[in-house]
Symmetry: C2
């Protein structure tokens, strides 16, 4: 996959050399970071705030396919999916640790490309890289990111605090990451059959980016703050809308009514799903990886948020006994089920 001529073999640098090389340009941006990379541990000053921590493990062949994932995008995404978890607590991410396991097929230049994406994501969101671990791997690329964020205790939003009557809201649009993945998988198969055919992804930038280069919705956390709306419950959409709604309902011991016609789906997602003979609603419900924020708000906050084009109100919370229901466009009531990725894997 990589051209090894004129490239630097990782063995030449050694572990400490590699770490030095990759971390020498880190500029710490947060007053909270007292000591970053270079000691047994980083030292952070929460300055009276609560600390939020989340972690994700990304494995080659499971979470990403290097046949169509540029390493720079992969680095960017590895950071974003973690930042998204902190945003989902209504908090602001501040630091990450990044651990990498790499087989010897990777050159220094390839790892630099990966790090370029990591740095890009961190710069954009003013995140400090404060630690990590670098090791060789017999098993392809392993990426483990841990993210820290901070919030005042009264601002933290959990999953288990939705109340009956609350409005169910979601940011952005859904299903794009999944339909983008379908395109990439199709072009990979065509390429494997005939390497001379160039991938046909023209005009599909938006959904390709939704898959390869997602953005954590820190802007929504800020928007809610500006609008003085504190969600009653929140989660990020990593496994598909249905799965996330069910998490909120189950953990809050509530039910819900979700309206199919209200689920925000971009026209390109809609068209592409149709091309693949997929139901666009199913892509939104079960596709996952959109990294939008799903949250509930009090009805009293409706007027504050109703004009925001980037937030859709897609249903409301009911008592648990009413169950979790999807109301189809034709008015039929279906039990909401989390199929996640498995639904597509049959």
């Amino acid at each position: 996959m990589f051209d090894n001529a004129d490239r630097t073999n990782l063995d030449q640098l050694g572990e400490f050399g590699l770490i030095d090389h990759l971390t020498k340009n880190i500029k710490l941006q947060h007053a909270a970071t007292l000591k970053g990379v270079g000691d047994d541990a980083a030292v952070l000053d929460p300055a009276g705030k609560k600390v939020l921590i989340s972690t994700d493990l990304l494995l080659e062949g499971i979470h990403f396919d290097l046949a169509y994932t540029p390493l720079k995008h992969l680095g960017y995404k590895a950071i974003q999916v973690n930042l998204s978890d902190i945003c989902a607590m209504n908090a602001i991410p501040a630091q990450v640790t990044v651990s990498l396991g790499m087989s010897s097929k990777y050159t220094l230049e390839a790892i630099e490309e990966l790090y370029e994406g990591i740095y890009l994501a961190c710069d954009k969101y003013k995140i400090d890289i404060v630690g990590g671990d670098t090791t060789s791997s017999k098993q392809g690329l392993v990426i483990s990111v841990t993210v820290l964020g901070y919030a005042n205790e009264e601002d933290v939003v959990y999953r288990n605090t939705a109340e009956e009557g609350d409005l169910l809201c979601v940011s952005g649009d859904l299903g794009g990451a999944y339909t983008g993945l379908q395109l990439l998988e199709r072009e990979k198969l065509i390429y494997l059959e005939n390497p001379k055919i160039q991938p046909d992804l023209e005009g599909k930038d938006y959904i390709i980016e939704r898959q390869l280069k997602p953005e954590a919705r820190q802007d929504i956390v800020q928007l809610l703050k500006d609008l003085k709306v504190k969600p009653t419950a929140m989660i990020d959409v990593s496994d598909g809308l249905a799965s996330e709604i069910l998490h909120i309902c189950k953990q809050s011991n509530k039910g819900c009514q979700l309206y199919e016609e209200k689920i925000p789906i971009d026209p390109m997602t809609y068209e592409t799903a149709r091309e693949f003979n997929l139901d666009p609603t199913v892509c939104a419900l079960s596709g996952g990886e959109d990294y939008e924020l799903l949250f509930t708000i009090k009805q009293a906050d409706y007027d504050k948020i109703k004009h925001d084009v980037d937030v859709s109100i897609i249903g409301y919370i009911t008592e648990a006994a009413a169950g979790c229901n999807l109301i189809s466009k034709s008015g039929q009531v279906h039990e909401l089920k989390a199929q996640g990725w498995n639904a597509f894997k049959k």
Copy 2:
């Protein structure tokens, strides 16, 4: 490796089922843990202290060999090596996140065994498991642990603050983990040649345990506090004494005199090294994985620590220009070099 009859396949549980199963018995022990597993992120209250964070990535085939590493020991060690990093900052570890990637060859029972070791280590040191990630893996077992600890800012000890004239100290004894590894590797080879021969590890418990079941020296952090000795610099011995001394000297811009005769080596380590025609001193200098604490103290603190049998004074810090020297038992001066594991791999 595992007998799959009457065993539970991981696929039957699914990711959420597995996480629920593995985390249902977690009892939070720290007042600092406001919210553990079960949301997008854990929420922690540092209560005015500084936060320390460190992370380690352990990969099958690189960091451990399941041919002779019981999964319970592996889980225990994965936690200990992380705790050790927080101890090395003169701080007390409090929480961990644990991420696992597992190929389908692992049964639920095997993962439970791994977790048993994780829980044992956490219970012993009153550590809360507050998060993690669980995923399938195409690449064998992947373990990523991140640890958080807390300290007052004035108590944190870095690597780069050793001063000329400071005494160089190390806890416990060195080289045991490496000689233990030699034994295990030898018995593995014998077993591979003839599976009917039982491993001959009798009487070697101590060094086998040093390799398979290390202990973070939190007791030394407590001892130093009790003795009112604040080290001037500190690091844990994961890569071998030589490498760690050089880290302190390089980062502090100092040199050192290290006395071979003062390096603490257990008699069993000594004998076993000899059996393998290895120099016991080289095992201590370059073997690694002992997870003892290496630290420097002011000469004025010598009287407070001199009677402690678990701390050895092995040399002193000099100006940088004097270099980093090993004074052999015969009085010869050698430049101290970090060979780490590579030295043995030729």
